[in-house]
Assembly symmetry: C2
Homo-oligomer: 798 residues x 2
């Protein structure tokens, strides 16, 4: 009972909600209307009750009541054998009903009785969970019967039933059509369900006219289509009775009884298998997987993910000691490692179908010297979006690291092919100018372009050598209600603003003396590091620090613009960064924006160039590029950079490439996502056509409130990212090796367990990341939860 | 005429065949049977003819002839206005007919008149191309009407119509269902077509009963589902006439006429747009894309790829000067950069649907400390397959390069954490033992583990430094009919065998004195390079060669086992390689197999460990891992290697990861593909259950014949790879910079243009690569074509 109450509470939050796995539950789908869904429900309900199980039949949407259609009563009558069985054993429930025998979307309008899809799902879930709670360990079966076919509209036009109920993750029973044309209808319904990530346990269909044998064609197809335990059974039942035959006569006949008994047993077995598999995933993962960035000795509970549902993860939960099992939705507060883009479940489904189409049409086709529409269309969208006004070429790779490695190759060639490679320089003298706290990826080249951190020490990779000058940046943050620019050493308040927008008003801030100070310091550091000798420059990652600096030849400025992500969600003073870019460009260095994290609307703009008011020569994109589905990266470049690789010889070309370069599936996902992000009709955060900035989704007042909570050092929020850093605790290790009982850990724990928000810390930083399409209302809820979690963890655990 | 004849010839080859784009051609699909497909064909045919176009109506499969069903006659009557129009303007054709009104798969069996799907497609293509040829520039329209719904079986049970005709790449007209339940049926049919990579231009459907308005629900859904020019129109036509109404009356009514005139015009416009888009792709690609490994100044014709069709690429072709346009199939002889795995078109479709399911169910979900079924299932298949007997852990990354970078990090830790890091060693002293000619990827770490080549010189990346000892290997090849082991310097025949299998009989060859000689030479080289000083060892990539060698600390042996792929398809003597592995293991070096290219059945075995008889400690997989669809990689390791990263601190862990680590879509593709490869029912090359080696697909006699062709230096063939190297021509540059008029280039050109085989050279090496599931008959055809191409290019062009 306690559990049921909690489930109801959870299900009322925007992403919350759980579905019990304690009684088996299935959705009954039909190849189409009039194929006998309700008869199958009758047969299954009766068989389950006969076997001693409690049964819930729920019909969320019923039309045709005026014409006598009342599927729930029919099921009740058959399952209780005309009332002879105790009624408490078979519960039936119709949630919404209309009189006319038309689709619910039509009836809702005609009869003036609308229903919101979200309410239908919530009510269905509540009915199921209440039943589950009432079972108290007795075996049970829930049959949720849909209306029409899987792609019949629900109560709202444009949203079909299969999308409506998808989040419930109910395995399906599909009632097949034995009539002429029924093979196509049955298989198309099957694929519509599978294509929405749902599983079909069993196809139940009547034998059909002699010699037509639709069930044979369906079974033959499914045997080839799936393999292993995924092949659904095809269960043949006697032909449906003529209207004049009494249903009791039909269902009490031996053939009918046996067929449905076997079908019901199979559902029960499939359900047990599903729960067993979900349960076993934790141990299997601990034994076979090797997780990235994970100390396996510190892993407690493995999160077993059954599915994604919009911006939520559907997670398997089981009380210790084999108690109540359920699938619960948690908000994906880390945007699954900063990748997620398309927002809701329906949008996700459409993106999935774009991917399915590309997979079927192209699979993968080799790229060099070739053209295919997805690669071209994605390139067009990139050049017309993030690259607008400067880029003319798109080079595809597989992820952020490889995009950065390519960017470095491009920059070095552009820099040195023009002015000549410095005579006698060793590989170690070539370097980049970068920012301390930057992170560009995990392959050696990307790491060499980053300062030394815990990620690249000699025990991680003895080949690492920080190659360049990494400058300490002044930062911008909301601190106790004020937007403050703090000096790199953290000791000085350089500038204070009443709002973030004011701090980003670079035209005004350029007039400040601060700008000249920034420029001087940057020039001096680069000069010293280029010159070499002596002690070298502060920030130089070469061997200068021990007095052996040979001097450096810089090939590029490489920056993560504005927000240093992996470095701890540090917002660099935009004025300083813009000054850095101007200084380096003036010195002839190609400017590389690593926008793998911060680009493509992550920070509210397609490219941070819009906020900095200055364009790069080369820029990298990944993560959001495919909307959060598959790896794909793009390095954009100016025609000048491209020209540096043209020549008579093939060896002049950029000799870099991966087998899946510009793979069509990823490019199709990119086309879909990039178009969606910038479509004001689809994206609620894009104010109107032509806007190049998303609406702010993080409520300013709530942010100010957060920044004033005791122990919160700073808050940043930009685009889809919000983060706060907690003050270090006495005696706690700083940075990456956050102690497991730190306040940060407690905040994370509270968000995960009490607020169903899945998030991960970055040192003492807690961040929340949504998609560029997430409505402000969701973000309001997240901020409220963050405030609650912070307040509930104020005092250290004794 | 000439063109039509060529098309017929091409279409008779296994992968050949083209479809003319000169008259517009569409497939007419129905939401199901009995929705009015033929009436729509009638209306479109009549409207096109009215507008002055020639019309071909082709019905490949007609059932119900005994009951008066004869769609072609109906269309002919309506389109010619009961014969009043000149018959030559409207051609109709029924290709296969049966008497009973049941599905063709049933009729074919019952009436003893079977039809093979491949023949149906060929005949359809021929009818269309003959009509195209006869149009001679006059405007025309081809209507290919299907039978039943898209997933109704064709003439063979288990193969549905949508799969049957998929290779024709005809845009579709979908006839919708206006009855109750028709929305679901219409949309499910639409998705079944889209999910097979097909495009639907227009949904045509009757208005339907008043107030039901299925067309509105269909249109509302499609507007959300697609965007831009991909939204199909929904065209409403008058309700179908009652049986007693004369068709001429119906079709001559103004409303009907106007509706179909508009629909036919739209088809014509959509067709023009499609051709224009295909045509424009070449120029757009030249302007916007930056291809990998491509000197843009050398690109002549861009290959415009419209789709993949099994192992073939569907390529847009147009005669110069705006002549005949068509889509032609070319065999994908480079397996799209060594990635392709699943073989035929139907299998590819199933893999695509697995991907679509995973995309809908999971999208991407964050991986560290989490578990999801695709990641676990793929890990199980890898550990039970390539990793069997040695590996216990799977680490996922995105591609071969990243998999190798991870392998290096693993190996170094395993090596040095145990015995301690050498005191005071600089990053440059850490190295690997490897093989000259190896290639491990394009990121810096993978390159540093490879010897210097054209790919990594200072102009490509000034940071490159070959870190290790790269030994020159003795090689094995078929030369003029004998399998010869040649010394590394190419001067000595070390061993000769009558067959390849004999050369791979390592148990016998271990007894040879050659084995001891190999071991001694390897030991001496490693000793010298470890010691440092003086001149260093041959093969040392450090600075030893100029007398400054500081001595090396080796962290791993890293090899591409057996076949050096990018190095030119060089088969290393397996005895030498096995000896190398034994020597290094004895010295305590972890052994890394880079099986990115050669693993997962590429060489006929799941792991080359099966052929070498020795297991690695770490191995990398990618390319074939997803069957040839999306990037995904796995690094497998022993529990010993894994243990070296366990500890109390997070910083002890392997701190490497990519955002899309273990992305569910790729893992699902891997589960599907790995299971398929090793399923003897699905894979014709897997002789029987329990076999761990594929059948040889390259005919031994043909290989011998190839090896004896004048100018062929050597031939190798193993698993799905066959390659031959041509002798260098006098005055031609060797290696990567192959001259465009070399014989190699001429062979490639002949294969592409005369034999419809898409292939690419590697220096003077021509290779053909198929999937692990390609039947031997296809390979026989390829070898014949290779022989023809070789013979036709014997003499140099003057």
């Amino acid at each position: 009972m306690r559990w049921a109450a909690r489930a109801l509470e959870a299900s009322s939050s925007r992403w919350g909600g759980s579905v019990s796995l304690s009684p088996a539950a299935v959705a009954v789908w039909g190849a189409n209307t009039e194929v006998g869904k309700t008869l199958v429900s009758c047969g299954l309900a009766r068989a389950a009750a006969d076997a001693g199980a409690r049964v819930l039949y729920v019909k969320p949407l019923q039309t045709g009541l005026d014409e006598g259609a009342d599927d729930a009563s029919k099921v009740a009558a058959v399952a209780t054998r005309g009332g002879r069985r105790h009624a408490g054993e078979v519960e039936v429930s119709t949630l919404w009903g209309w009189g006319a025998a038309v689709g619910p979307h039509v009836a809702a309008v005609v009869e003036g009785k609308p229903a919101a899809g979200a309410d239908v799902v919530r009510a269905t879930r509540e009915a199921m969970n209440a039943f589950a709670a009432s079972c108290r360990g007795r075996s049970g079966l829930v049959l949720m019967e849909t209306a029409g076919g899987p792609l019949s509209p629900g109560p709202e036009i444009g949203v079909v039933q299969a999308d409506l109920y998808r989040g419930l993750r109910l395995p399906g029973v599909l009632v097949g059509d034995a009539r002429l044309g029924g093979v196509s209808g049955t298989l198309a319904a099957y694929e519509a369900l599978r294509g929405r990530g749902m599983d079909v346990v069993s196809v139940v269909m009547p034998e059909g006219p002699e010699g037509m044998d639709n069930w044979k064609a369906v079974a033959a197809y499914l045997r080839k289509e799936e393999f292993g335990s995924r092949v659904p059974s095809v269960r043949v039942v006697p032909n449906w009775p003529a209207p004049e035959v009494d249903l009791e006569t039909f269902f009490s006949a031996e053939g009918t009884r046996d067929a449905f008994a076997a079908a019901a047993e199979e559902l029960e077995a499939a359900h047990s298998r599903r729960v067993d598999e979900l349960r076993a995933m934790g141990v299997a993962a601990q034994r076979k997987l090797w997780w990235p960035f994970t100390q396996h000795t510190q892993v407690g509970q493995v999160t077993r993910i059954d599915a994604r549902a919009g911006e939520a993860l559907a997670v398997f939960r089981e009380e210790d000691g084999g108690g109540e099992a359920k699938v619960e939705e948690m908000f994906d507060g880390c945007a699954s490692w900063w990748t997620q883009g398309v927002g809701g479940s329906e949008e996700g489904g459409r993106l999935a179908r774009s991917i399915g189409h590309a997979a079927a049409r192209y699979g993968h086709v080799i790229f060099p010297e070739n053209a295919h529409a997805p690669a071209l269309d994605a390139a067009r969208l990139l050049l017309d979006g993030a690259g607008k006004g400067w880029a003319s070429r798109v080079f595809y790779t597989d992820n952020g690291s490889t995009a950065v490695e390519v960017a470095l190759k491009m920059a070095f060639r552009r820099r040195f092919a023009a002015q000549g490679y410095p005579e006698g320089a060793s590989p170690d003298q070539y370097g980049v100018v970068g920012i301390s706290g930057s992170y560009h990826g995990d392959t050696l080249g990307a790491m060499d372009a980053s300062p030394a951190t815990a990620f690249n020490g000699p025990r991680q990779t003895p080949w690492y050598r920080g190659r360049g000058l990494f400058l300490e940046p002044p930062t911008l943050a909301l601190k106790s209600g004020r937007w403050v620019v703090t000096s790199a050493d953290g000791k000085e308040e350089l500038d204070v603003h009443g709002s973030r927008d004011e701090a980003f008003d670079l035209a005004s801030r350029e007039e400040l003396p601060l700008r000249a100070r920034y420029a001087e310091e940057i020039e001096a550091s680069i000069d010293a590091c280029e010159r070499g000798g002596g002690e070298g420059a502060p920030g130089c990652a070469g061997e200068c620090r021990v007095g052996k600096c040979p001097g450096h030849a810089f090939g590029a400025l490489v920056v993560e613009p504005l927000l240093l992500g992996a470095g701890g969600m540090v917002l660099v003073d935009p004025l300083w960064q813009r000054t850095l870019i101007h200084v380096c460009r003036h010195r002839g260095l190609p400017v590389v924006f690593d926008e793998v994290f911060c680009g493509l609307w992550r920070l509210g703009v397609e490219s941070t160039a819009k906020l900095l008011g200055v364009n790069p020569d080369i820029a990298t994109y990944a993560k959001l590029l495919t909307g959060g589905t598959v790896p794909l990266a793009a390095t954009l470049a100016t025609e000048d950079v491209f020209a540096a690789f043209q020549g008579d010889a093939k060896t002049d070309a950029l000799l870099h490439g991966h087998s899946y370069s510009a793979h069509a599936i990823g490019c199709a996902a990119a086309v879909h996502s990039l178009a969606l992000f910038r479509d004001p009709e689809a994206n609620p955060n894009l104010p109107d056509k032509g806007a190049d900035r998303l609406r702010d989704v993080w409520d300013e007042n709530k942010l100010y409130e957060l920044s004033r909570v005791h122990g919160v050092d700073r808050v940043v929020a930009l685009g889809s990212v919000m983060a706060f850093e907690l003050e270090p605790e006495a005696g706690a290790p700083a940075g990456y090796g956050t102690s497991l009982d730190s306040r940060t850990a407690r905040v994370i724990h509270a968000l995960r367990t009490e607020h169903a928000v899945y998030c991960r810390p970055l040192g003492n930083v807690v961040y929340l990341m949504v998609s560029p399409m997430t409505p402000k209302a969701t973000c309001d809820g997240l901020l409220d939860k963050a405030l609650k979690a912070l307040r509930s963890t104020g005092a250290p655990v004794v």
